[in-house]
């Protein structure tokens, strides 16, 4: 049994490493095929060839591609993620700075998305083809099909500019920037640690709109999937049997039908959360939110490969971790997988 576990663990670790290595090779190739020149980004349009060559040598851009790649992987193996061209800082420091902003945004968004999406999906399935179902499907269709960039801008115009209900761009108003020490990087937590409730209030005020818009987009997806899963279950014979045997509607839905879709929902919510962590770039741009999505995109645009590769590696690790978490939750929710 122990041997079996060890073999399974080794196999899984091998798969993870192979996945990450494949991801790195693919990203490196795409990054190098892209028509961006990191040296030109550093030296500018006016620099002459001598300056260009000097900087190319300094950042290793003059080396053959395979050497650049092996140099990066070798450094990585020694725990060195490299230095960013854009900031001149170790990439890992940059990521530790931008990641909390995105985690804060994504976590609030997924709470909105899953917190509303799952009950609405169940409600729509239970009231199938009734007005409530139509309304929910219409709302989710809008959330799914509207470009998030546009939704963000309209949200700003209505809730910030016209109604003055929420804050504008950035994580804080100018009055509060720098007032609480950056202990964890999570502004809400840092404000609580510092006991500064004005800053906390302002941070929430700035988080509400972008998180709600991102959450609405996630909600649309989660609602539709929940509805679909739930309809499958409601059409099963065991549901009819339960009702015939006198079980209440609520108990049948929540204790039996919902119990059977929990495993699928865990996967859906985990993947949606993963996407929010790496893919909120448009909302981050509209709301000037200094997060991970903007960081990876801006670095990709100037060919800052140390930063891009480390970000991709991190995204890969996040998705693998979320998948492992899903697997662990499967075992809790579905005894057959134990």
């Amino acid at each position: 049994m122990n041997n079996e576990r060890l073999t399974a663990f080794t196999r899984q670790a091998g798969t993870i490493l192979a996945t990450l290595l494949g991801l790195l090779i693919l990203t490196f190739c795409i990054g190098r095929l892209m028509p961006v020149d990191p040296v030109r980004a550093i030296v500018g349009e006016e620099a002459d060839q001598a300056t260009y060559n000097m900087v190319a040598e300094r950042i290793g851009a003059n080396l053959p591609l395979y050497q650049q790649f092996f140099r990066y992987v070798n450094d990585l193996a020694h725990g060195d993620f490299g230095t960013s061209i854009r900031t001149g800082q170790p990439v890992i420091n940059d990521i530790l700075h931008v990641m909390p902003a995105t985690i804060e945004l994504a976590t609030f968004a997924i709470i909105v998305g899953a917190g509303l999406g799952i009950p609405l999906g169940i409600l729509a399935a239970v009231r199938r083809n009734r007005p409530v179902d139509h309304i929910i499907r219409f709302l989710t269709l809008i959330g799914h099909s509207m470009p998030i960039f546009w939704t963000g801008m309209i949200g700003l115009i209505i809730f910030y500019a016209a109604l003055d209900l929420v804050g504008g761009g950035g994580r804080l108003s100018d009055y509060y920037i720098g007032l609480v020490p950056e202990t964890t990087g999570f502004l809400l937590i840092d404000a609580i640690i510092a006991g500064d409730w004005e800053v906390f209030r302002d941070a929430v005020n700035h988080l509400l709109l972008p998180a709600s818009i991102l959450g609405y987009s996630s909600m649309a997806y989660i609602t539709r999937m929940t509805r679909s899963f739930m309809l499958d279950q409601l059409n099963q014979e065991y549901v009819t049997t339960a009702r015939v045997k006198g079980l209440s509607k609520g108990r049948t839905i929540w204790h039996h039908a919902f119990a059977n879709i929990r495993v699928q929902l865990v996967t859906i919510v985990a993947l949606a959360y993963g996407s929010l962590l790496e893919g909120a770039v448009l909302i981050e741009t509209v709301f000037s939110w200094p997060g991970f999505g903007q960081y990876i995109t801006n670095n990709m645009l100037i060919g800052d490969m140390n930063a891009v590769m480390t970000c991709v590696l991190l995204v890969g690790i996040i998705f693998i971790a979320l998948n492992l978490l899903s697997d662990a939750l499967y075992k809790i929710f579905d005894p057959r997988t134990r």
Partner: protein, 534 residues
């Protein structure tokens, strides 16, 4: 549903009221400025690229001299109280102002000035190009920059040029920025002359110091308590990264920022009617132009190039695509610069263009490609030019891409037509324009003179090279002006590879209670004079 509404309703209402914004305007002693900071990669004056970084550093570092905000041809004293040019035009002697100090408290001495210039040349980074063009190099830096005493700096010119252009060069942020030698060298790492430290630290003598730079988030400038000049009204300047023009506009309208530096024409126009916001426009640097590659045999024919000249709707482009960002100009020297001739007055003339094409052997036009950055306003310019080219039978397929793709193709000399922006102009001297637009000392592919657009277009004319070189060393001002006028006339006659149709101007929006804002050309606006009247 009802129980759900009973809970959710009050929670939503309560949270909205609880978290409502507390402040509707910026703090009275803090200026909040918004623009896109995507291009800020370092804050080391020797290594910067892009106008956004210039806007930051112009408030941190002083130069020996400053280019006047209103009269572009005028050079004002800054760290140097006076300067004299040797009779043989071979050297310039600067006398430093007394009492100037760096933010560290160290006095500004001639040793700091000389070290700053030597550092620039020895690091040989982006900003060194400005002086390298005039013969300065790492090898001759020790001989070129000397300090006979604490208050005097002598710059010996390594080759014969107009000393005025060197004085002007020392007035721009980057090559002219003076650094605190002691403060920087305390952070020297493996002989990098403090380059790593200066990426996100400052060591200047300007009115503000760098508080914090968070890439793509914000730059905070704090008032320099040891500033030797008139104390700025603002205690702090908060520069915020606002990539989206519409976000800048909304925040400016709401009063959450005081100045928006990078708004689109559409947003600037929308703000024209606002009583709370004002718009200011001032000269920029460079031109919007249509460039051809002389590698292409069609464009080697002067008649074809001349035909293109008459297939640009100069007035239409400036009126419809370039308000706030361009001003009609069809000469390669900006209006107002000494020696600049009035516009030649080219107009869209399809019949004339057709006749010229027929003379060149293309009565029915030809297919070609037109490259443009996929960004505002280049795509609109390309589309408009594509339409006017089509009227003479030239079927231009638009190729779009990033700056690297479009200007990269120019640097590789692999393109046919490009709608671009450039052509010098950081200095108020015609030489900077001619050298950027048409000068090409060596047309060989191997020369790789990618910093000369003349080389990029494969345009080579020995006569104009000589005219540009001669004008630069002409000691008699009147004669020099005449020579630059002659170059413009010759430029028009020979129909070179780059045809400007607009000179770049910059426009910013700012709150009406902001006073003392004087927009400098090329994003070098000094914010120390700005105050709020509320």
């Amino acid at each position: 549903m009802k129980p759900l509404l009973r809970i959710v309703g009050p929670v939503l209402l309560g949270s909205t009221l609880l978290f409502q914004p507390a402040h509707a305007e910026t703090p009275p002693n803090m200026l909040v400025v918004g623009f896109s900071m995507t291009n800020i990669l370092t804050l080391d004056p020797a290594a910067i690229t892009g106008k956004e970084t210039v806007q930051v550093l112009t408030n941190i570092y002083d130069n020996l001299v400053a280019l006047d905000a209103v009269n572009r041809a005028q050079v004002d004293p800054q760290l140097a109280e006076s300067w004299t040019i040797a009779d043989d035009n071979g050297s310039i002697t600067f006398k430093l102002s007394k009492g100037a100090t760096f933010a560290s408290g160290n006095p500004v001495t001639s040793a700091d000035v000389v070290w700053s210039f030597k550092r620039l040349m020895k690091l040989n980074l982006a900003q060194a190009s400005f002086l390298k063009t005039h013969g300065f190099s790492a090898a001759n830096a020790d001989a070129s920059f000397t300090a006979p005493d604490d208050g005097t700096v002598v710059i010996k010119l390594p080759k014969k040029v107009d000393p005025q252009i060197i004085v002007q060069t020392l007035g721009i942020v980057g090559p002219g920025s003076i650094l605190d030698m002691k403060a920087v060298m305390e952070h020297d790492k493996s002989g990098d002359m403090g380059a790593a430290w200066l990426t996100n630290n400052s060591a200047g003598s300007g009115p503000f110091t760098l508080g914090q730079w968070q890439s793509n988030e914000r730059v905070t400038l704090e008032q320099n308590p040891k500033y030797w000049g008139e104390k700025p009204a603002m205690r702090r300047i908060m520069m915020r990264h606002l990539a989206e023009s519409q976000s800048q506009r909304l925040m400016l309208e709401k009063g959450d920022i005081d100045i928006a530096f990078s708004m689109s024409a559409a947003d600037l126009k929308a703000l024209e009617s606002s009583k709370d916001v004002k718009i200011q426009t001032n000269g920029g640097s460079g031109f919007y132009y249509l460039a051809v590659s002389m590698k292409d045999e069609k464009f080697q024919k002067p008649k074809v190039r001349e035909a293109l000249r008459y297939l640009i709707d100069y007035q239409g482009l400036n009126d419809s695509v370039l308000p706030y960002f361009g001003k009609l100009r069809d000469r390669p020297v900006p209006a107002g610069i000494f020696g600049a001739l009035p516009n030649a007055g080219y107009k869209l003339d399809v019949a004339k263009a057709k006749a010229l094409l027929a003379e060149a052997g293309y009565p029915n036009g030809f297919p070609t490609t037109l490259r443009a950055i996929s960004d505002v306003p280049f795509m609109s310019l390309a589309t408009a030019i594509q339409a006017t080219l089509a009227q003479a039978g030239i079927k231009a397929e638009i190729v779009t891409g990033s700056g690297d793709q479009i200007y990269g193709a120019m640097r590789e000399r692999k393109y046919e037509l490009v709608v671009g922006r450039g052509g010098g102009g950081q200095l108020p001297h015609p030489d900077s324009n001619f050298r950027a637009i048409v000068y090409n000392p060596n047309n060989a592919d191997e020369a790789k003179l990618t910093n000369f657009q003349g080389w990029r277009t494969s345009f080579y004319d020995e006569k104009i090279n000589k005219m540009i070189d001669d004008a630069l060393v002409e000691g008699n001002k009147d004669k020099q002006i005449k020579e630059y006028q002659d170059i413009q006339t010759y430029y028009a006659e020979m129909v070179p590879a780059i045809q400007p149709f607009s000179e770049v101007v910059d426009s910013v929006g700012f709150r009406a209670d902001i006073k003392g804002l004087e927009l400098n050309p090329s994003w070098s606006t000094q914010l120390r004079t700005v105050k709020k009247e509320r």
